[in-house]
């Protein structure tokens, strides 16, 4: 669709047609006191060249680290060049989410492929076209559980990402749900004993994250039976989607909803967004899940085509009875994720293995430094928690060297003031890690 502004002649003809003397007369409903007479004092206009130089100098105030040891919900992974080539095509890059959806067969097919890959990776029969981000995907899962079971109690692990818990709390407050946090044990895993004591017949959902915020892989085999014993739904979240390339899918282990952050699939860190909410569920919940669903079918000539299906779930039809009022998705980010997954194929597993090995190496090297200790015993993916005598000093030393350091746990977990959450992805070479460790060793 082209943008063609009106000429003064066009405007004159339109005004004549509707019998209005001038454009100003179209705004008579706005009281005179509120109308802007003059523009406020703005600087003089810049030429394109001056404007460009102004923006360049502003962006120079940003610093980009040469490497990062931070995860905590957003991860630095390699993005193959082909992702940018596909995503940058103007048909995808400039398009808004399709409303006359069936005319956009290309994007519907892309979404269908995305849903298929996510369903396979999560071990679930159904995945939607995506949500805004991991946190809101988890919150929507919680609301789905509450509305489907007509229960108002939510149990959430304290080892779930603190910001995810805050977003869940916002959605729960709006819906009148009570949240109870389940603690973690010294191993770093969810305390299943406390979970079993706390869960009751009013519990709609048990909400966990694996790998959890401490990087630890939860044992869903212990958690699932407890959740399902009272009929509650098990919601399994994640923050680094590459873990899906290696770990047993939560869907296979009995989760009712698998949701999380897809940024690790082909999307840059983007200063915190846009990100990609992944949402998958069981067949039983199909008619309750939020968001768009792309479906494959045949047209009247028997040719394959794609549609947005099961739209009667959505709020433009179901209105206040819909599970959610989301009526969009992160199409471009989902497309980037799809191209990432397609270009890697089964090598996603190798990427995940690299993450495990790098993290193990970083963990061993740092924990061998004087005063540094491993905080938790349970197995991890690409993040882990270490305690050290002066986490602020170490992070400052790293920052000096252009390294984004670890995430200090103290502000979210006051009982863990000396702990750093550290991450190593395939982006770190052995030399990078050795270099970071040297700086940490010398930090006083």
């Amino acid at each position: 669709m082209d943008y063609t502004p009106h000429t003064p002649d066009d405007i004159k003809i339109m005004l004549q047609t509707i019998g209005v003397p001038s454009l100003d007369d179209l705004f008579t409903d706005i009281p005179d006191a509120y109308r802007l007479k003059d523009l406020p004092d703005l600087p003089a206009p810049l030429s394109e060249q001056e404007g460009w130089q102004h923006m360049v100098s502003l962006s120079a105030q940003n610093t980009s680290p040469v490497m990062t040891l931070m995860g905590a919900g957003a991860y630095h992974h390699y993005i193959p060049a082909v992702v940018g080539h596909i995503v940058g095509r103007s048909e995808f890059y400039t398009a808004y989410t399709p409303y006359q959806a069936e005319i956009s067969q290309g994007i519907l097919q892309a979404i269908y492929e995305y849903q298929t890959m996510i369903a396979r990776l999560t071990g679930m029969p159904v995945a939607n076209a995506s949500m805004y981000d991991g946190a809101s995907a988890m919150a929507e899962g919680v609301v789905l559980a509450g509305k489907t079971l007509n229960r108002d109690r939510i149990l959430i692990g304290r080892s779930v990402h603190p910001e995810y818990r805050r977003v869940v709390a916002t959605y729960c407050a709006a819906n009148g749900y009570n949240i109870v946090e389940i603690p973690y044990t010294s191993s770093g895993r969810l305390d299943t004993a406390v979970l079993a004591q706390t869960i009751d017949n009013q519990t709609a959902a048990v909400c966990i994250q694996s790998p959890n915020f401490f990087g630890i892989i939860e044992d869903l085999r212990e958690i699932e039976p407890v959740a399902h014993a009272t009929g509650a739904l098990l919601i399994a979240g994640f923050t680094d989607a590459t873990a899906l390339g290696l770990l047993k899918p939560a869907g296979v282990l009995g989760a009712d909803i698998v949701c999380g952050e897809g940024q690790s699939f082909g999307n840059p860190l983007n200063f915190g967004g846009p990100y990609l909410g992944i949402f998958a569920a069981t067949e039983k919940l199909l008619r309750k899940i939020p968001g768009r669903l792309s479906g494959m079918t045949v047209d009247q000539d028997g040719k394959r085509g794609f549609v947005l299906t099961l739209q009667a779930r959505e709020q433009h039809i179901r209105r206040e009875k819909a599970t959610s009022n989301i009526c969009t998705n992160e199409a471009l980010c989902a497309l980037a994720a799809s191209v990432y997954l397609v270009s890697l194929g089964k090598n996603l597993r190798k990427i995940a293995e690299l993450n495990v090995h790098k993290a193990r190496y970083l963990k061993e090297k740092l924990s061998s430094l004087v005063g540094w200790e491993v905080s938790f015993t349970a197995p991890v993916y690409n993040e882990f928690v270490l305690s050290c005598p002066a986490p602020e000093k170490v992070n400052a030393a790293w920052r000096e060297a252009g390294i984004a350091g670890g995430y200090a746990l103290g502000k979210d977990y006051p009982e863990r003031k000396n702990d750093l959450l550290l991450c190593a992805t395939e982006m770190l070479s052995r030399m990078d890690i050795d270099h970071a460790v040297t700086i940490a060793a010398e930090a006083r």
């Binding site: 008619r287 009667a312 039809i317 009875k321």
Partner: protein, 135 residues
């Protein structure tokens, strides 16, 4: 021209019918007029057996190609049977709304509630009035 509304049952203003089975239960469904308005029905969300319902509260949900509609229970009581065939053939409601397209059987808490509902003649004139009003 739709099917006539049978005289042997009672009707709600939300277009449900209730047939007294004579054993303390009623069978319920939606009228032929309702199925015609909904157009092709693609899914029926059947309630669990044992579910307690109140008169004119939603007991099931019917999804057609153009809408999702709550269906209201004509009486208070407990669900004792559901028409499982509708899981695979929801279109039975379109084809035979008063017969094979029955939806739920309910054990009545208070049979007197049936008197609050309309008879066939009253319901028929209600739907005709709506038609005349150009809906």
């Amino acid at each position: 021209m739709g099917k006539p509304n049978p005289d042997d049952r009672r009707y709600t203003k939300e277009h449900e019918w209730a047939l007294d089975n004579g054993d303390g239960t009623v069978t319920m469904g939606i009228t032929d007029y309702a199925q015609h308005l909904l157009t092709d029905i693609v899914y029926v969300e059947l309630p669990d057996i044992g579910k307690k319902v109140k008169q004119m509260e939603p007991v099931t949900v019917i999804e057609s190609v153009k809408s999702v509609s709550d269906i209201f229970s004509p009486v208070s009581g407990e669900v004792v049977a559901v028409n499982e065939t509708l899981q695979d053939k929801p279109e039975l409601i379109n084809e035979d709304a008063f017969g094979e397209g029955w939806i739920v059987r309910i054990a009545m808490a208070d049979p007197a509630e049936l008197n609050l509902l309309m008879d066939a003649a009253t319901y028929t004139s209600l739907t005709e009035a709506v038609k005349d009003a150009g809906h």
